[in-house]
Symmetry: D3
Subunit: 142 residues, 6 copies
C-alpha cells in the first residue's frame, strides 16, 4: 500500500490562571501593551491543547504511535504541569516574569518538551493552544 504516512491529533484540556505582566515594566505600560490581560490578580482559561504527530502507519497495528504512550507524554508535559495551576506562579519556567504566558509562549514551551520524548519514527508536526473558541496559537515543526 503506497500512502503510509498519516497524522494523529490528540487533544487535552487544562484549567489554569495567568496574567500578562512584565515585572520590569510599570503598571501603566503593562496595561497599555497587554490590556485587560494585565489585570494584576490573574484571570484564567480552560485551555485546549492539540498535539499533532506524523509517522508511518504500522501495517500490523494500523497505528502511527502507541496511543497510551502518547497520552502519558501529554499527561506528564501538559496536564500535570498546567492543570489547576497558576502559570505565572506554579510553572517554574514562566515564574518571576521569565516568560509572559501568552498562547504563543505556552505552545512553544509544550512543543519543546513533547518533541524530544516522542518515540523514534514519530515526528511532532504542530502544537495548537486555544484559550477559548476565538483565539489560538500554533507552533509548527520547521
Amino acid at each position: 500500500m503506497l500512502r503510509s504516512l498519516a497524522q494523529l491529533s490528540r487533544r487535552v484540556e487544562f484549567a489554569a490562571a495567568h496574567r500578562y505582566r512584565r515585572p520590569d515594566w510599570s503598571d501603566e505600560r503593562n496595561r497599555a501593551v497587554f490590556g485587560p490581560c494585565a489585570n494584576p490578580n490573574f484571570h484564567g482559561h480552560d485551555y485546549t491543547c492539540t498535539v499533532t504527530v506524523r509517522g508511518a502507519i504500522d501495517d500490523t497495528t494500523g497505528m502511527i504511535v502507541d496511543l497510551g504512550a502518547l497520552d502519558r507524554i501529554l499527561d506528564d508535559e501538559i496536564t500535570s504541569r498546567f492543570d489547576h495551576r497558576n502559570i505565572n506562579l506554579d510553572v517554574p519556567e514562566f515564574a518571576d516574569g521569565r516568560l509572559v504566558p501568552t498562547g504563543e509562549n505556552i505552545a512553544r514551551f509544550i512543543f519543546e518538551r513533547v518533541e524530544p520524548r516522542l518515540p523514534a519514527g514519530v515526528e511532532l508536526v504542530r502544537v495548537d493552544l486555544a484559550e477559548d473558541d476565538t483565539l489560538s496559537a500554533t507552533v509548527e515543526a520547521r
Copy 2:
C-alpha cells in the same frame, strides 16, 4: 393568539481565575474537601453564563424583552464584574473568603443581581454557569 409566553436565553462568556479555599481551614483540610481546586496559586476557566428570562411576546415587536437592555444588564452584572478578574481577590463579595467561588455560589450571586434589574413583566427563570463542557451549576426561580 393564545400561546403568548416565551423564554429567551442569552449567553455571555468570561475568563476568570479562582480557587476554592476557606481561610479558616488548614491547607490539609482545604485540599481534602476541594481537591485540586484548592491549589493555592489559583487556576482559571472560560466560564459560560446563560441567563433565561420569560415574558409575554409583544404583539408589535415579537419580543419578550428589549435585547439591548438585557445585554446592558448582563454586561454590568456579569462581564464587567468577572471578566479577566480573579474572583477571590477582585470581586468584593467573594473576597477574604466570604464566599467560596463555586459554580453554585457564582450562579446564585448572578441570579440575585440580575433579577431585580429586569424590566416589569420579565421574569428571571434560570441562571446556568458552566466552568467547562463537563460541569455546570444552575439556579432557578422558586
Copy 3:
C-alpha cells in the same frame, strides 16, 4: 418498571434570511427598536431548532415515538418551510409584516404547527430556536 415517561429531543438546522421591520413604522423607529436587525436588505442565520416531546416508553420497542415519523413532521413543518428561505418574503405567515420574525415568534409558530401533528400519546414539551450560540428562544407547553 416504574418510571416509564421519557423525553426525546431532536435537532434540525436551517439557513434563512430575515429582518426585523414593521412596515407601519418609520425607518428611524425600526432602527431604534430593532437595531442592526432592522437593516433593510436582510441578513441571515444558521438556525438550530430543537423539538422536545414526551411520552411513555413502549415496552416492546424502547421508544416513545417513531423517530422516522417525527422526522417527517419536522421536515414538513420546519426544514421545508424555512431552509434556504427569506422568512419575511417566502413564509406566508410572516410576509407583509404580519409577524416580525424574531426567535420568539418563529418558535411559537413552529410549536403551533408541530403540536397538532404528533401521534396520540406524544406530547410536545418545548421548542427551542437558536439564532446562534449566544441567543435562543423557547416556547413551552402550558
Copy 4:
C-alpha cells in the same frame, strides 16, 4: 441567604456499540420498525450523558454535593458499564434482547442506578443521554 437550592450538571462520555433488534421479531419487522438502527452487525456512538442533581448549597463549602463522590458514582454506573462496550452483548440488563438499547431505555437505566447512590439531601433531577448532536433522550424525576 434565601435562595439556597441549586442544581449541578455533570457530563461524562462513553463510546459504545449497539443495535436495535428484538430477537423475537423477523429481520423484516426489525428493519421496518428500527430502520438502519437494526443493522445486524451493530453500529456505535460517542454517547454524552449529563446527570443533573439538586440540593441545598452548603454555606461552608459553597457546594451542593462532593464532586469527587459524584464522579465516582458516575464512573461506576455509567463509564465503567458502557465505555468501549457493546451494549447488546456486554451489559447484562440489555443482553439477550431484554431491553432494546434506545436512548430512552439507557437514560432510564442510568437514572435508576444513579438515584439510590446519591448522598442524603441530594436529589436526582434528570438524566440526558445524547447519541449525537441531533438526538437525545431525557428521564426526569417525577
Copy 5:
C-alpha cells in the same frame, strides 16, 4: 531560543444574507447550477471567519502581533462589512452580480483586504470561512 515563529488564529462571526445567482443567467440555469442557494429571496448564515497570521514571537511581550490591532483590522474588514448585511445588496464588490457570494469568493475577498493592512513582519497565512459546521472555504498564502 531557537523556535521563534508561531501562528495566531483569531475567529470572528457575522450573520449575513446571500443568494447564489448570476443576473445574466435564466432562473432555470441558476437553479440547476446553484440548487436551493439560488432561491431568489435570499437566505442566510451565521458565518465564522478564522484568520491565521504568522510571525516571530517577540521576546519581550511573548506575542507575534498586537491583538488589539489585529482585532481592529478584522472589525473593519470583516465584521463591519458583513455583519447584519445582505452580501448581494450591501457589499459593493458583490453587488449587481459582480461576484457570486460563495465561501470561496468571500474568503478570497477577506484575504485580499486583510493582508495589506497587517503590520510589518506579520504574514497572513490563511483565511477560513465557514457557512455552518459542515462547509468551509479556505484561501491560503501562496
Copy 6:
C-alpha cells in the same frame, strides 16, 4: 484577479461500531497493544470525516467544485459504506482482520477511494477522521 486557488472542506458524520483486534494474536496480546479498543464485543463512535479539496475558483460560479457532485462522492464512499455499520464485519476491506479499523487506516481508506473520483482540476488535499473531540487522524496528499 490573482489569487484563484482555494480549498473547500466538507464534513460528513457516521455512526459505526469497531474493535481493534488482530485474529492472529492472542487475547492477551490484543489487549496489551490496543487496550480497551480490543474489547471483543465492539464499541462505537460518532465519526466525523472532513474532506478538503483544492482547485481554481471558477470566475463564473465562484466555486472550485460542484458541491452536489462532491456530496454524492462523499455519500457513496463514506456515508453509505460506514454509517450504521460494523466496520470489522460489514466493510469488506476491513473484514476478517485484513485491516485494523484505526483512524489512520480509515482515513487512508477514504483518501484512496475519494481521490480517483474527483473531477479534473480538483485535488484532494486531506482527509481528517475524528473519533471524538479528542482524537483524529489525518492523511494528506503527498
